[in-house]
Symmetry: C2
Amino acid sequence: SASSNGSGTRVMIIGGDGYCGWATALHLSQRGYNVCVVDNLCRRQVWGEISGRHIDLAIGDVCDWEFFGEKFRTFSPDAVVHFGEQRSAPYSMIDRKHAVYTQNNNVIGTLNVLYAIKDFRPDCHLVKLGTMGEYGTPNIDIEEGYITINHNGRSDTLPFPKQGGSFYHLSKVHDSHNMAFAARAWKVAATDLNQGAVGHPLTVYGKGGQTRGYLDIRDTVRCIQIAIDNPAKSGEMRVFNQFTQQFSVNQLAEIVKQGGKKFGLDVQVSNVPNPRVEAEEHYYNAKNTKLQDLGLQPHYLEDSMVDSLLEFALAYKDRVRMELIKPAVDWRAKTGQAAAAAAAK
Amino acid sequence: SASSNGSGTRVMIIGGDGYCGWATALHLSQRGYNVCVVDNLCRRQVWGEISGRHIDLAIGDVCDWEFFGEKFRTFSPDAVVHFGEQRSAPYSMIDRKHAVYTQNNNVIGTLNVLYAIKDFRPDCHLVKLGTMGEYGTPNIDIEEGYITINHNGRSDTLPFPKQGGSFYHLSKVHDSHNMAFAARAWKVAATDLNQGAVGHPLTVYGKGGQTRGYLDIRDTVRCIQIAIDNPAKSGEMRVFNQFTQQFSVNQLAEIVKQGGKKFGLDVQVSNVPNPRVEAEEHYYNAKNTKLQDLGLQPHYLEDSMVDSLLEFALAYKDRVRMELIKPAVDWRAKTGQAAAAAAAK
Ligand SMILES: NC(=O)c1ccc[n+]([C@@H]2O[C@H](COP(=O)([O-])OP(=O)(O)OC[C@H]3O[C@@H](n4cnc5c(N)ncnc54)[C@H](O)[C@@H]3O)[C@@H](O)[C@H]2O)c1
Ligand SMILES: NC(=O)c1ccc[n+]([C@@H]2O[C@H](COP(=O)([O-])OP(=O)(O)OC[C@H]3O[C@@H](n4cnc5c(N)ncnc54)[C@H](O)[C@@H]3O)[C@@H](O)[C@H]2O)c1
C-alpha cells in the first residue's frame, strides 16, 4: 500500500508532532512526499528520527511570524497541512486564560498560514483540520460546508450556519470564516477537513443520546492524502466532512459492552452528570460523501477493531490513570474554580 | 428629549472615547444613566470633562484582564456597551500584522467582557456593536441574526450565514459566535447590534452598485438606549440590524450631487478602481424592524441633512486632507507593499 503518489510533492505539516499529525507525516513520507514538520512541541518534548526517509523538522510556533514565515518561504511547500492547534475542548473551557490562549493560538496561527501562502506561495494548497463540532447539532441535515437556502422566493448557497459548543470549537469556526475570505479575496486554494472524533469517548455524559461522527485513525491519514492529491482550485474553499460513521454515545457504550463479553468482562455503563452544555437527545444526520467520491474506502468500527482495542487496554490496564478519565472541567464553572489539574484531554 | 429613563442604571461603555461611544456616553449621561467609560485611548490622547453629570473614566485596555476585570467588578454594571474594538476595515487589511492586531484586539476583548459578566455579574446585559458587513451580500434577504431554514423536509432556525469582507468584519463574525455560545452555555443576556455605516463614503469604488445600510448618528445613540432599556433575557442572544435606510454608493453620490446644486457647486462623481474585494452589483435587502418595533423613530437622510453637511464641509474645506480620502489599502496587495501611511480611516 506504500504506493508512491508523492513523487516529491512538498508537504508542510503544521502540528506534525501531534496525534493525527505524526501519523500523517509517517504515512506521506512512506509514500514519497517530501515532508516538513512544523511544531512547537507544546504537547511533548521528545522527537525521534524515523527509518529511511527524511522528515525535515522545524521546531517553533506557527504564531511566531519570524520563525514560521521564514520556514515556509524556504521550504516553499506545494501543500500545507495545518494540524497545529490547541485541540482540547475541555482545556479551552477551564477558565478565561485557557479560552484566550486557545482562540489566540488557533486563530492567529491560521492567519499566519494564510499570509504565508499569500505572500510566498500563492498556489500552495492549504489543507486545514476543522471539526464536525463546528456545526453543533442542528435539527436539519448537516451538509458539507455549504447549504442552498431558499428564502422569500430567492435562493443562495451560503456557508452552513455554525454553532460551536466550546471556545475550542469556536476557534475552528473562526478559522473557517477567515479561510473562506482568503479564498475569495486572494484566490487561496483551501480544503477544510471537518474531522469527526478519532478517539472514542467511553464515558457517557448525561443521557448519552449525543450523536457524532467518527473515523478510524487509518482513514484520517488517507483523507489528508486524498485532499493533497486532489487539491482545491485557486479561490476555492472546499469543505469535506471527514468521518465515516455516526454513533450515539450509548451506541458506542453498547458496542464495547458486547465486545467485552468475549473477554469475559461484564462492562458496566455508568451515566455521569454532563459537564458540557449540549443537547443530550437530538436529530443528527451529517453528509460525508465528498471524500468517498474521491476514493476513500472506510475502515468501519467492527468487532475485530473493538477486540484489538480491548485486548490492548487489558494488557496495559495497570497503566491507566483513572483520575484522568472523569471530566475535570465544567462548562458552567466559574473561572478559577475549575481544576487547573485539568491538563484536560 | 432628556427624559430620565436612566434613573441610575449603571452602564459601562467600552470604547467610549470613540465616535459612536462618546456620543452614546453623552446621550445616556444626560438622561440619568450612571456611566463609566473604559477606553485605551488608542484613537486619541485628549479627554475632557463634560458639564454637570459625572462620567466615570477608566483608561485601560479591555484585553488587559488585570485592569478590565477589576474595573468591571467594582463598577458592577447593569449593562455594558462594547464599542471598544479596532473598527477600520482598510486598517485590518494593511498587512499580516494589522490583521492579527485587529482580530486579537477584538476577539480577545470580547472574550474578556464575556468572562467578566460570567464571573462577576451574570445578569449584566451585554450590548455589543457588530456590523451589517458581517452578512456580506447574499442573494437572499438578510434577516436579523437568525434564519429559518427548511431543508430535506426538516426545519430549524439557525444563525444567519456570515461572509465578512475583511479581517475587521470577520472579527465581528467571530465575536458573534463567541457571544451566542456564552448565551447558550452561561445564560448571558446579549444584544448584538449589527450597525450600518454611520459615516457616508462619497468616493465611488468601481461600479458603485454596492448597497449597504446607513443610519444617522442621532439614531445610533437612541438604538443603544433602546437596547439597554429593553434588555435581552437571560440566555438570549438577540440580534438587531441597526440601520434605517439602504443606499447604493451611486445613489448617495447622486444625493450629494443634487444637494451641491443649491450651493452652486458642480459636484463631480468619479469612479476609482475598487481596492476592496466585493460584488459591485448585487441583490441587497436587509430587515431592520426590531429596533423600530421597540420605538426607534428614524432620522432619515433628507435634503436638510445633506445641506448642513455640505455647509459644514464648505466652511472648513481648507482643512480637508485630500490625500486621506483616496484609498490607501488594497485588499489584494502583498504584505509590506501596502502604505503603512494607511492610518486608514
Ligand atoms: N483527534 C481528534 O479526534 C480530532 C477531531 C477533530 C479535529 N481534530 C483536529 O485535528 C488537529 C490535530 O489533532 P490531534 O488530535 O492530532 O492534536 P494534538 O494535540 O495531538 O496535535 C496538535 C499538534 O499541534 C502542535 N501545536 C499546537 N499549537 C501550535 C502552534 N501554535 N505552533 C506549532 N505547533 C502547534 C502541538 O504541539 C501538537 O503536536 C487539530 O487541529 C484538531 O483540532 C482532531
Ligand atoms: N462608525 C461606524 O460607521 C460603524 C459601523 C458599524 C459598526 N461600528 C462599530 O461600532 C463600534 C464603535 O465604532 P466607532 O466608529 O465609534 O469607532 P472608534 O474607533 O471611533 O471608537 C472605538 C473606541 O474603542 C477604543 N478601543 C479600541 N480597542 C480597545 C481596547 N482593546 N480596549 C479599550 N478601548 C479600545 C478606541 O480607543 C476608540 O476610542 C466599533 O465596534 C465599530 O466596529 C461602527
